[in-house]
Symmetry: C7
Subunit: 96 residues, 7 copies
Amino acid sequence: MEVQPLHDRVLVRRYSEDEKSKGGIIIPDSAKEKPAEGEIVAVGGGRISEDGKLRPLDVRRGDRVLFGKYSGTEIKIDGEELLMMREDDVLGIIKK
Amino acid sequence: MEVQPLHDRVLVRRYSEDEKSKGGIIIPDSAKEKPAEGEIVAVGGGRISEDGKLRPLDVRRGDRVLFGKYSGTEIKIDGEELLMMREDDVLGIIKK
Amino acid sequence: MEVQPLHDRVLVRRYSEDEKSKGGIIIPDSAKEKPAEGEIVAVGGGRISEDGKLRPLDVRRGDRVLFGKYSGTEIKIDGEELLMMREDDVLGIIKK
Amino acid sequence: MEVQPLHDRVLVRRYSEDEKSKGGIIIPDSAKEKPAEGEIVAVGGGRISEDGKLRPLDVRRGDRVLFGKYSGTEIKIDGEELLMMREDDVLGIIKK
Amino acid sequence: MEVQPLHDRVLVRRYSEDEKSKGGIIIPDSAKEKPAEGEIVAVGGGRISEDGKLRPLDVRRGDRVLFGKYSGTEIKIDGEELLMMREDDVLGIIKK
Amino acid sequence: MEVQPLHDRVLVRRYSEDEKSKGGIIIPDSAKEKPAEGEIVAVGGGRISEDGKLRPLDVRRGDRVLFGKYSGTEIKIDGEELLMMREDDVLGIIKK
Amino acid sequence: MEVQPLHDRVLVRRYSEDEKSKGGIIIPDSAKEKPAEGEIVAVGGGRISEDGKLRPLDVRRGDRVLFGKYSGTEIKIDGEELLMMREDDVLGIIKK
């Protein structure tokens, strides 16, 4: 079973503590708004411009991303917890 | 009797507990803003761009969708409870 | 005597309880924002786009429509109570 | 002495009780936002589009109009009380 | 010494009681938002459209104008009190 | 050491009491929002239009300007206090 | 390990007290909103215009910048504290 996000929305699987990059990104506890880490599992068809055209999103399925900790709506698909958010809530893509 | 939604609005039939996907999407109780599940029964003619053109909607009649739990306005047609909402309130389309 | 709504406004005659569709649309009492039912008696010349062009409205005189219960401004013409509202306050068109 | 409204503004002379249409439009007292009746005495050069072009107004000098009761700014010209408002505050044009 | 207003701003000299039009425009005391009367002494280069072009202003140096009583910022140039405001705060131009 | 303002920002050196125009502009103490006087020391590359093009600013290095008293962010460069603000916070240019 | 900011976001390494420009920019303690100093370590692909096109950013990797003290979201990459912010939060570029 799959969910296809609409327009500029993306579906994200949040990383567990174990999956997080070793020696990599650590979000300090004291920060006011701390980003979280996860993987894009599905992306919408694109952002609708003011002239009605569709612009494809910049993140892709499989991208490892940083996003605002309180971004998105939680859903559970086939027993797995996922997050549906807008692409603009994604702060950046983690490169290997 | 039918209702044709205007512009970027869609008419949605919310699934009963029985109709919900078995082993499929479960909305956790603890989530702040929980999406609901339903079926598109009618779609508007399209979104009006800033240049005055009509852009057809991306959801179609028969699509199984996720939407924000408090989205839309309740109406009853021929004894059936339906929800009228904007397409942007639809989070994603559920694929089989 | 007639009133020609300006731009994207429409003039609506709200249905009395008797005129409402039998076996048809019933607005549940418990709903927070309940739509009402009526007939379009006059429509404005169109919506003005950001580029200054006029786009004709999608509802037509004689259309039976659903609209937000508290939408519009009440006026009385030749003894008849009518509602002046913007087309965007119309949720959908009722088909026979 | 005359005043030329700027851009999308119009100058309106509110009707006295005697001038109001007999058997015509009556604004119910109980309505929350009641429109008033008057005559357009001057119109601005037009609305400025986002692309910087001027779009002429739809109301004309001499038009009998309905407008929101609290719309506009009161001014007195040659002893006569007038109202300066934006064209968008005009709800509709009264036809004979 | 002169001040050149920027973009869509205009510089206005408010009329004293003596300079006001005799038998002309009187602003009623009871009005909530009362316009004031003055003369344009300088105008900005124009309004910047969303496409980045400059559209010249509609008021000109020497125009006698009506404006919102609390519009603008007071400045004193060579001992004379003036008001700097946006052209959109000007309600209309007084014709002789 | 120099700072290049970004986009539509400008860097301003506020005039001391001594540098102010003699017999020139005086800001009345009683005014609610009093403009201040200064000199432009650096300007950004331009304002970004909605279509993504760059429109050069209208103020230039060396211009003597009026600006809102509480506009901008204070910074100190090589011991000198400066103000970083957006060009739109500049009310006008003082001509000799 | 690297993070690629999305769209109009930039990644900034805040300068320590030692790295700050000697005899250079000092932010006064009494200022309400004090800018901070840092170096751009990564920039997003560009700002999306209203017509859906991508406009490259104006700051570049290696640029020394001033930014609002409370701008951005703190993240830690390979043990180093960085700030993710939008390019518009950058006030200006420091030139040598």
